[in-house]
């Protein structure tokens, strides 16, 4: 009897080129995603050493990080010459290497973690990498997908491999069906609150359980996307009929006889029933309330029905100091009800929540309503394809009628490196993934939540329990 293995171990074993003398493994990389935030540095480093790109057919490139998301009718108003150069260099470098690239002007352009899946580029059982921490998104397909640094991007381009030490395995079991008015974002924020932002460090997480089985691919991507916020190297969901139905017919997915062959192999991709995980975590999603963050890391989350915690009630001095610092930065008061916190800005978008289902769920809330006076509300579709789909469904009309700004695709205000940012002190209800100090602009304050919750906040002008508007 072969030893039972986790899904992670199975993918790992299939990709070990060899075990290195220092104990690491040299892993074959099947899929590499490249974006404008790292390409310029990686191509420059390759050029300096006279190295080429070994497998240009296994890399897909997009411009997303520095691209402005205002109207694209004339010249693109880049933040500065450095930003313009970053887009020019990903275009030039990919052209030279023969890499497929969707840059500004291509209707498929968009956020790397939205475009990769919707093109059918990322497949189950692959090792997928990208110079971006939210590469964990692609674990939704049962791919071992993880973020890497810029030096490592160069390594992948030059060799189509990566050297790595194997992580521990962690299983997160989510019991469903999940409660009304909650989404994958609420699941993952609750999980984060439960295990903390270093709860997954050194691990690869596999999500299992009835609350996971019922998730759509978009929702699984939201869940896996935030795995990095637990500190995990990657998050995984074993592929199933939901996965296969999503992939079938996508432009870069296999077709014909190759599809049938792939499907047969993908059906075997799951952890053995008695596989041993190094760590087990369980969470009951049946009684969950919609969650928002109140602090400056994604683990500082709470049900919308709760209040800002009181540092004085925390025994551990380090934890107390951390919470006090977060509350101070956020301009909140201990004991203040979360549903009374007023907001200035709403951002619906990002690789976490910028997909078609996210926009649909926001429209459910804002339909025939108006954005509250004094609130600026943005929708930044995750990709040109998402935008086109939303427009075909008339979602843009609902957003515009409610007073939202309907924008072009990109990362935009999730990390605010394209010139789009909040002013100091401004408070945002955001569907992105990080509420770190300064993340959406210096001294700006970010509350993370689902698209439906962000839509509700846009309508009332304060953090709001979306269940009251459904």
């Amino acid at each position: 009897m072969p030893e039972p293995r986790t899904l992670y171990a199975k993918i790992w074993d299939a990709h070990v080129v060899e075990t290195l003398p220092d104990g690491r493994a040299l892993l074959a990389v099947d899929r590499h995603l490249l974006h404008d935030g790292v390409a310029i540095y990686a191509f420059e480093a390759l050029r300096a050493k006279g190295r080429g790109v070994r497998r240009p057919d296994l890399t897909l490139a997009v411009a997303d990080h520095v691209v402005p998301t205002g109207p694209r009718t004339g010249a693109i108003p880049y933040e500065d010459d450095d930003a313009r150069r970053m887009v020019e260099q990903i275009e030039a470098g990919t052209r030279e290497a023969g890499i497929t690239a969707f840059s500004v002007g291509d209707r498929r352009q968009g956020i790397v973690h939205v475009v990769g899946p919707e093109q059918g580029f990322v497949l189950p059982g692959t090792v997928t990498v990208c110079g971006d921490s939210h590469t964990s998104t692609h674990g939704a397909f049962g791919a071992y997908a993880f973020g890497i640094g810029i030096t490592e991007v160069g390594h992948v381009l030059a060799t189509q491999t990566i050297k790595q030490q194997k992580s521990k395995a962690m299983r997160v079991s989510l019991r469903g069906p999940r409660a009304r008015g909650t989404t994958a974002k609420d699941l993952v924020l609750a999980l984060m609150q439960h295990v903390g932002i270093a709860g997954g460090t050194g691990h690869v997480v596999e999500y299992q359980g009835s609350a996971v089985d019922e998730l759509s691919m978009e929702e699984r991507m939201t869940l896996c996307n935030m795995s990095i916020e637990l500190g995990a190297r990657a998050g995984l969901v074993a592929p199933d009929e939901t996965t296969f139905a999503y992939l079938k017919g996508r432009p870069m997915a296999p077709s014909g006889a190759l599809w049938d062959q792939a499907l047969a192999a993908w059906r075997e991709l799951r952890s053995d029933p008695d596989a041993v995980f190094d760590r087990e975590v369980e969470l009951d999603a049946t009684k969950l309330a919609p969650h928002v963050t109140w602090g400056t890391n994604p683990g500082q989350a709470a049900p919308i029905t709760a209040a800002v915690p009181d540092p004085a009630a925390i025994a551990d001095p380090a934890a107390r100091a951390g919470i006090a610092r977060a509350i101070d930065y956020m301009g909140l008061a201990a004991g203040q009800k979360l549903s009374e916190v007023k907001i200035d800005h709403v951002f619906i978008g990002s690789c976490t929540n910028g997909r078609i289902e996210d926009l649909r769920s926001a429209v459910e809330v804002i339909r025939n309503r108006r954005v509250a006076p004094g609130v600026t509300a943005w929708v930044v579709p995750g990709s040109g394809s998402v935008k086109a789909q939303a427009e075909a469904e008339g979602l843009d009309e609902f957003f515009r009628a409610a007073g939202f700004d309907w924008r072009e695709p990109g990362c935009s205000m999730c990390l605010a490196m394209n010139g789009e940012r909040l002013q100091p002190g401004q408070r945002s209800a955001s569907t992105s993934n990080r509420n770190f100090e300064g993340r959406q602009g210096r001294d700006a304050r970010t509350h993370l939540m689902s698209p439906a919750m962000a839509a509700a906040a846009a309508i009332t002008g304060r953090l709001t329990d979306v269940r009251d508007l459904l």
Binding site: V17, E18, L20, D22, L26, A28, D30, G37, Y41, E44, R51, E79, D80, T100, Q119, G120, F121, L123, D132, G147, I148, G149, I150, T151, E152, G154, H155, A158, T159, T161, K163, Q165, S167, I197, A198, T201, G202, I228, R233, R250, M252, A253, P254, S255, L258, W259, Q261, A265, N297, A318, G322, L415, A416, M417, R434, F436, E437, G438, R439, R442
Partner: protein, 208 residues
């Protein structure tokens, strides 16, 4: 990459958990070329007052810590974004070794690729290092990668942990890409096998 054997220098205490790479290198500088000196970006938002002047309350703005080359940090250092600009700015500022109870995965890898030692010590030892570093008279630390030891007048000799593979990489300062390119025959053999067993991964359609 320069090999790292051992290093002696001033250690700055940063007694804060969960310091993320956004704090180490704010996003407004992410477009800067690597060839520029990134030292000024290091911890920029917490190092400066809103008017742009240096905040004397921040540890790295006070002598002798303004020339620190070792950082003693809280748990979960380097979490968040994969930006390699974080180790770049730390390196340009002068840091050669970091001590923490826990490093975030991607950040740790990025340090290794830039010749910075991420040394893991138990929480209790980090508390002692923070205390020693806080007193300028005992702020000098030696980080010895050969012996896996931290040495200091106040705390004595402490063992630190680092994976053997990581230690060897830093000691030798080898170029990882060159090393891997030396394994091309094995890579090609594996690729041939993968083409046979999972051909759909090697025959993607679509694109242009």
């Amino acid at each position: 990459m320069e090999p790292f054997i051992r290093h002696t220098g001033i250690a700055a205490p940063l007694d804060q958990a969960d310091v993320n790479t956004d704090m180490i290198f704010p996003q407004r500088f992410l477009r800067r070329p690597r060839s520029s000196n990134l030292a000024e970006c290091c911890f920029h938002s917490v190092r400066h007052r809103p008017d742009g002047s240096l905040d004397p309350a921040f540890i790295l703005n006070r002598p002798p810590y303004d020339r620190a080359s070792v950082l003693v940090a809280g748990r979960n250092f380097g979490s968040g974004s994969s930006r390699e600009h974080a180790p770049w700015t730390l390196y340009d500022f002068g840091f050669r070794a970091l001590l923490s109870p826990l490093f975030a995965d991607i950040f740790k890898n990025n340090c290794l690729n830039n010749g910075i030692v991420p040394a893991t010590l138990p929480e209790a030892d980090i508390r002692r290092c923070l205390a020693a570093a806080s007193d300028p008279r005992t702020a000098e630390f030696t980080v010895d990668l050969e012996a896996c030891e931290v040495r200091n007048a106040a705390v004595g000799t402490l063992r630190f942990e680092i994976a053997d593979a990581d230690r060897r990489r830093l000691l030798q300062g080898i170029d990882e890409i060159d090393e891997t390119l030396g394994r091309l025959p094995q890579i090609e053999r594996h690729e041939q096998e993968a083409r046979a067993s999972a051909p759909w991964n090697h025959a993607r359609s679509g694109g242009n």
